[in-house]
């Protein structure tokens, strides 16, 4: 009953302890371990714990192009997904009234579809004997199947955008809900056209949602290696694919770790710059 602040603090840390242990044990420690590994080397299929920065140099020398390509693809996907999500969330919040809930529910339901199911669905749609080609053939638009639909960066962009969309809608919708109708009415009253209201009143108020959606989708897209392998074809090998093979049959954990951390730092850097630019644009 008469717990002092110290006692409350103590009981709080006791309550937090299990989740903190899980977080540290399953996330922080492995990360730290692989950070150490990235400074080691491999000799005869065994880890040699001699400190070296060679792995980072190799990453920079051999995989810079791949990383650039990966970030470009991830950037396109994140931008596209965020824009579509903004349109969707805007419609749900402002345009379709009570149908909004149904639309939102539909978007969230698609999250249950599973990642691989969606990748294979797009494979089925875009493949040489896929739904799209069959439909076009039957309609007489084309005479023979178009092979260019799949196994290229475009297919990766389409697939990942579709998969990431519900995840991007939520943060934006959340921040749009925080935009009060009153500010929109006030803007109209002051002579603001719908477009001016969108750019001057609504958009600046949902900046945090946009940053969250962009970051989220960018990180997932940049780290993905399943989609590129299944629908990307040989022309779309992303950095994740290389990292995967280094940890797999090539057994070069140090180089794989160095590439992982390089990718991670680059991603964080890119997101920091993007967020900074967005916030600066809002202040203007």
């Amino acid at each position: 009953m008469n717990a002092t602040i110290g006692e409350i603090g103590r009981s709080r840390s006791i309550l937090l302890a299990p989740s903190a242990l899980v977080f540290i044990g399953l996330f922080v420690l492995p990360m730290l371990y692989f950070f150490l590994v990235s400074f080691w080397q491999v000799s005869l299929f065994d880890l040699d714990r001699t400190f070296t920065v060679k792995n980072y140099i190799r990453t920079y020398q051999e995989y810079l192009g791949v990383a650039g390509f990966t970030f470009l693809i991830a950037g396109i996907i994140a931008l596209l997904t965020t824009l579509i999500a903004l349109g969707f969330a805007y419609a749900v919040r402002f345009k379709v009234g009570r149908f909004g809930t149904i639309l939102l529910f539909g978007a969230l339901i698609s999250l249950f579809g599973g990642y691989l199911a969606k990748v294979y669905a797009w494979k089925t749609i875009l493949g040489t004997n896929g739904i799209l080609n069959t439909a076009l053939l039957n309609l007489g638009v084309i005479d023979e199947p178009i092979t260019a639909f799949i196994f290229n960066p475009g297919a990766v962009v389409v697939t990942l955008t579709h998969y990431l969309l519900p995840l991007a809608i939520l943060p934006i919708y959340g921040s749009l809900r925080g935009v009060s109708d009153l500010t929109i009415e006030a803007a109209r009253d002051l002579g603001s056209t719908p477009i001016a209201t969108f750019f001057n009143i609504i958009l600046p108020q949902c900046g945090s949602g946009l940053i969250a959606s962009f970051s989220f989708t960018f990180l997932i897209a940049a780290g993905d290696y399943v989609t590129p392998r299944l629908v990307g074809g040989p022309s779309t090998t992303m950095i994740g694919n290389y990292i995967e093979s280094l940890f797999g049959f090539r057994f070069d954990w140090p180089l794989g770790s160095a590439m992982s951390f390089s990718t991670l730092f680059c991603c964080v850097g890119i997101l920091a710059v993007t967020s900074y630019l967005l916030i600066k644009a809002q202040r203007r």
Binding site: S180, L182, T183, E185, A186, A187, R188, D189, L190, G191, S192, T193, A196, N200, I201, P204, Q205, Q282
Partner: protein
């Protein structure tokens, strides 16, 4: 002088805003019955009524946020019925203010001018002028969330005033403020209206606010304007029982009119022209005079004093009529306390000029 609003008096009775047969329903519930209303140039009109009487709906139709189902709305001779708020010469001060949270005070106020593409120099001059007018001075660079309720209120007011609207609409602007601040803002509004002229329309459910601010009051009930007129008119000559009860305190006596004379339940009788039937006589508490004699006033009712409270400036008396009805009396004559005692008999007197007889079913 500060010339924030356009003032070109074309005569005292010229209507700046003209509503004809305007009505609005929401899903079969009638919010505003078809009504006519004229708002004169330079008026400070209060639309007064209980919550749900349709007053805000009416204001939103004038502002262009709602399209009326029937009728037409003219502002300064122009038919604006189908125009949205962005194309009307009106500006609104919203109940919840609706300040833009991501802009500072100055940017909030300048937004309308920015939309109207007013040159920067002129915009700055006008913003500064209106900031001085509402006394926001040193707060110009603050974010709205760093302001108190009263200060936010001033920003909302300044943001509307800077547009120099032909009609300034205020939707319960003081409702969210505490009593003390409300009084201050009432005085501010009066001062601003006096200094810039212009036409103000305020919606309120607070009769004190309406009486204190407006030079014209439209009382609404159940979607209709039941009475419109000067505050004196409405207070002294309420058109219906509803108006009498809503504006200030009122005592209501039931009577019977027969061949030009009204007889009240307590026995008083006085001449009053009109058809035979049940009538209601409304007398304000301060018009009723307590007396020890039955013949001191032309109209007099015998009663019993129940309670007498000293309220500083006046006495408040609770008096019971023989039928059990309780009547409230205000009297500034503090010596009454020596002449009558609770539980004792008293006569309530008044003259015909101080009451109002209403024929109403």
């Amino acid at each position: 002088m500060i010339d924030v609003a356009v003032t070109q008096p074309d005569g005292p009775n010229e209507a700046l805003v003209r509503l004809r047969n305007v009505s609005k329903s929401f899903a079969r519930i009638v919010a505003v019955e078809p009504l006519d209303l004229d708002i004169r140039r330079g008026d400070f009109l209060a639309i007064l009524g209980p919550s749900g009487c349709g007053k805000t709906t009416l204001l939103r139709m004038i502002g262009g946020f709602l399209m009326p189902d029937t009728g037409r709305i003219e502002i300064d001779g122009q038919d604006v019925t189908t125009l949205g708020p962005e194309r009307r010469p009106t500006n609104m001060v919203f109940q919840g203010y609706g300040l833009f949270p991501h802009m500072n005070v100055e940017q909030n106020i300048a937004y309308g001018l920015r939309m109207a593409k007013v040159p920067k120099a002129e915009s700055e001059r006008r913003v500064q002028k209106v900031i001085d007018l509402v006394r926001l001075g040193e707060l110009a660079r603050r974010a709205p969330e760093a302001l108190s309720g009263g200060q936010q209120q001033r920003v909302a007011l300044a943001r509307a005033l800077v547009m120099e609207p032909k009609v300034l609409l205020l939707d319960e602007p003081l409702a969210a403020l505490d009593l003390q601040l409300r009084k201050v803002m009432q005085d501010e509004l009066r001062r601003i209206h006096a200094s810039i002229g212009g036409t103000f329309v305020i919606v309120t459910h607070d009769q004190g606010e309406a009486l204190g601010l407006a030079n014209r009051i439209a009382v609404m009930n159940e979607g209709r304007v039941v009475q419109a007129g000067s505050p004196e008119d409405i207070y002294a000559r309420p058109a219906t029982r509803f108006v009498a009860n809503f504006i200030g305190d009122a005592n209501l006596f039931t009577g019977q009119r027969q061949s030009g004379h009204v007889t009240l339940a307590g026995g008083a009788r006085f001449p009053d022209a009109g058809g035979d039937g049940v009538v209601f006589v409304i007398v304000r508490p301060e018009a009723l005079k307590p007396s020890t004699r039955a013949d001191e006033f032309p109209i007099s009712l015998p009663a019993t004093l129940v309670d007498m409270v000293y309220l500083g400036s006046h006495l408040k008396l609770k008096v019971a009529l023989p039928g059990g009805q309780e009547v409230t009396v205000h009297d500034t004559d503090l010596s009454l306390r020596e002449r009558i005692q609770p539980g004792g008999p008293v006569y309530l007197g008044w003259s015909a000029a101080q009451h109002r007889v209403i024929d109403e079913p």
